[in-house]
């Protein structure tokens, strides 16, 4: 049972609060991704779990045992670092065996564990090499191997793919996903890349400014963001946001005569300032629809099968709409955009999602 349970975790450097009241449960065998912009505290949270950062208050439980006062080595965790942090003066075998030696593991067992990890990661031919004789992807695998041999309850990954090039990143992402299934390991994974988060996670934790903004399964976050921050962070290209005023019941004014009649959550009050959010992929061209905005195309980026049109609204705002191969739209053209009413999000002035 290797569950990670974090309660009321706070951390501050002097007057600066880096982590504020974090509650988080990582179920046994699950893959949890901490995601958020840089400086949001996700790495600090991971390092707190690892025991590399002392916490100010709150508790951390791993496998049902409170580990707040345990040094990293006794927490039964293993960590894969962003820069891999391989010992440059040791070969691949020794890098993997190093921690075990210090834990006074019998030599035979070290051998057995290292060769098993090497087999899983296809590192066998590289065992005698030094880190500098390895490619980036190979180093990455050694770093993971070093984690595996520890047989930890929890794997901690700190942006492990950010030093790889785009192609390798996708490959390794898949390998990590496979590895997770193979090892049935509990994983806490930090990244700032929402695509990684979406593809890998059983559960995503979106963090911002030291707080957990929302926790949930990837698609839950995509379809039901709790607030404007999560809505904007998850999904690519990002969700369009248009500021509006509730002029009357179910009626939004965007300024310069741009208005929209649509069903609004009941909690909306007349005169309230809100933000309408809609993802580019939920906008259609030309179709006559109930909820529709007119604008002029500034520029279209075509990626092949799909494209993105940047459309200027009469009130000066630009929104991005997905173009699904329509060949007849072009720059400078005036178009009508149909918004799918199920996919419209309305956020209150404080950014929280207003629900019906």
């Amino acid at each position: 049972m290797s569950e990670v349970k974090i309660e009321k975790l706070c951390k501050s450097y002097g007057p600066i609060d880096v982590l504020k009241d974090i509650d988080l449960t990582v179920e046994d065998g699950s893959f949890v991704v901490l995601v958020g912009p840089s400086g949001c505290g996700k790495s600090t949270l991971l390092r707190s779990i690892a025991g590399l950062e002392p916490v100010t208050s709150g508790t951390i439980n791993i496998g049902g045992k409170q580990v707040n006062d345990l040094p990293p080595a006794q927490r039964e965790i293993a960590m894969v670092f962003q820069s891999y942090a391989l010992y440059p003066h040791k070969n691949v075998y020794d890098n993997m065996a190093f921690g075990l030696k210090f834990a006074r593991t019998p030599k035979a067992e070290i051998d057995q564990r290292v060769s098993e990890a090497a087999r899983i990661l296809q590192l066998e031919p590289l065992l005698k090499r030094r880190p500098r004789e390895l490619s980036g992807g190979q180093r990455q695998r050694v770093a993971i191997g070093r984690a595996i041999v520890r047989k930890p309850q929890v794997f901690l990954f700190d942006e492990p793919l950010s030093n790889l090039d785009a192609a390798l990143r996708i490959n390794t992402r898949v390998e990590i996903a496979k590895l997770h299934r193979l090892l049935k390991a509990t994983i806490v994974y930090v990244t700032h890349d929402q695509v990684e988060a979406m593809t890998l996670a059983d559960k995503i934790v979106v963090m911002n400014a030291g707080r957990v903004e929302q926790t949930g399964r990837p698609l839950d976050l995509y379809y039901r963001p709790a607030n404007k921050f999560v809505a904007g962070f998850i999904g690519s290209p990002a969700m369009n946001f248009i500021d509006a005023t509730v002029a009357k019941k179910d009626y939004l004014e965007f300024g310069s005569g741009v208005n929209l009649s649509l069903p609004l959550p009941k909690s909306c009050k007349v005169g309230e300032r809100v933000t309408l959010g809609i993802r580019p992929e939920h906008i259609q061209f030309g179709a006559r629809a109930k909820i529709q905005l007119d604008g002029k195309i500034d520029i279209i980026e075509r990626l092949g099968e799909i494209g993105y049109a940047h459309v200027a609204l009469p009130n000066g705002q630009t929104i991005v709409a997905q173009v699904n191969g329509e060949p007849n739209v072009g720059n400078g053209q005036t178009v009508s955009l149909a918004l799918s009413s199920q996919q419209i999000h309305i956020f209150g002035e404080d950014g929280t999602t207003l629900t019906a």
Binding site: R47, L52, P72, A85, L86, Y87, F98
Partner: protein, 316 residues
């Protein structure tokens, strides 16, 4: 060095290109050749001549070196100075550099408070002139002023006090330790820089691997700063075989008692410039200087071609 640019690339005439090179290179090369290389060569040249009792010089080939190394008139002093110089060097290697490394290790600990203040203050003696340092310590160790005796007595070790600077068995060690005290800042700073270059994540990785701070230092950091330690060692060697000021300031040109603190630098000074009734001897002085030159050269070569090649350098 593929990045160098040549004349054709810049569309310059050959004459203009030479003028360009001369403009940039001549000042440095001229000053360096005239005031550094020429004197070194001339010294080697001088060492081939012999001073006659009437003050004139005759050509003697490498005879001076034979005299210096084998004729007991000179060789006793020479080997004594050589031995003392090695002791001087060994004390620096075994005391100064380990202390420097230890201080650097402490200073590079994460989350250390007052790091900058410690670093600044510990480096302070290195800033001061050897003359001042030598004199200051002479006062402190002086049996007349009695400061060190008082200090020892205050911790109940008064009986340990001795005129360390005046005893044959302790003079050299005492002077060496004073030099160590002054210059410990240099290995400290160089090693500290090397330690800073080690990525934090590597230390974190070691922590996760279950190493405590001592083990992290010995098994992770230390192997990685070996190149810096090698550099510090060769610097120590060159500086120690060049040392002169401190011993001259504290023990005079005769480096007593009974030449027990005599090193190559003082022997050279005394021989070349003379002392009291001893007249300066330019040729034997040059011979000693040339020997120092050779010793340093051998040391540096050993470092460059034997030690440095075996040292593995790591990029992080």
């Amino acid at each position: 060095m593929a990045k160098e640019t040549d004349a054709s690339l810049m569309g310059m005439s050959r004459a203009n290109y030479m003028r360009l090179l001369a403009f940039f290179l001549a000042p440095a090369v001229i000053v360096y050749s005239v005031f550094s290389i020429y004197p070194l060569l001339a010294t080697i040249f001088n060492s081939l001549y012999l001073r006659q009792t009437d003050g004139s010089y005759i050509f003697n080939g490498v005879g001076n070196f034979g005299t210096l190394l084998t004729d007991t008139t000179w060789s006793v002093s020479f080997w004594n100075a050589m031995k003392n110089n090695f002791i001087f060097f060994l004390i620096h290697m075994c005391v100064q550099n380990p202390i420097g490394i230890a201080l650097a290790a402490l200073l590079s600990l994460p989350q250390l408070k007052f790091r900058a203040a410690y670093r600044t203050l510990i480096f302070m003696p290195t800033m001061l002139s050897v003359v001042i340092i030598g004199f200051t310590w002479q006062l402190i160790l002086s049996p007349l002023w009695g400061i060190s005796k008082m200090l020892l007595q205050s911790v109940g070790l008064g009986a340990l006090f001795a005129p360390w600077l005046g005893q044959e068995s302790t003079a050299l060690i005492t002077v060496s330790l004073i030099s160590v005290w002054q210059f410990v800042g240099i290995p400290m700073i160089l090693i500290y820089t090397a330690l800073l270059a080690i990525p934090d994540e590597l230390v974190d990785a070691a922590t996760v691997d279950g190493l405590n701070q001592f083990q992290t230092f010995f098994f992770v950091k230390l192997p990685l700063i070996i190149p810096a330690i090698g550099l510090v060692s060769v610097l120590t060697f060159v500086n120690n075989f060049n040392a002169f000021d401190l011993i001259y300031a504290m023990k005079g040109a005769l480096a007593g008692p009974n030449y027990s603190s005599d090193i190559m630098g003082t022997l050279f000074y005394r021989t070349f410039f003379g002392n009291q009734l001893q007249l300066g001897d330019a040729s034997m002085g040059s011979t000693i200087a040339t020997m120092m030159f050779l010793i340093i050269l051998v040391g540096v070569m050993v470092y460059l071609f034997v030690i440095q090649r075996r040292i593995q350098r790591y990029s992080f």
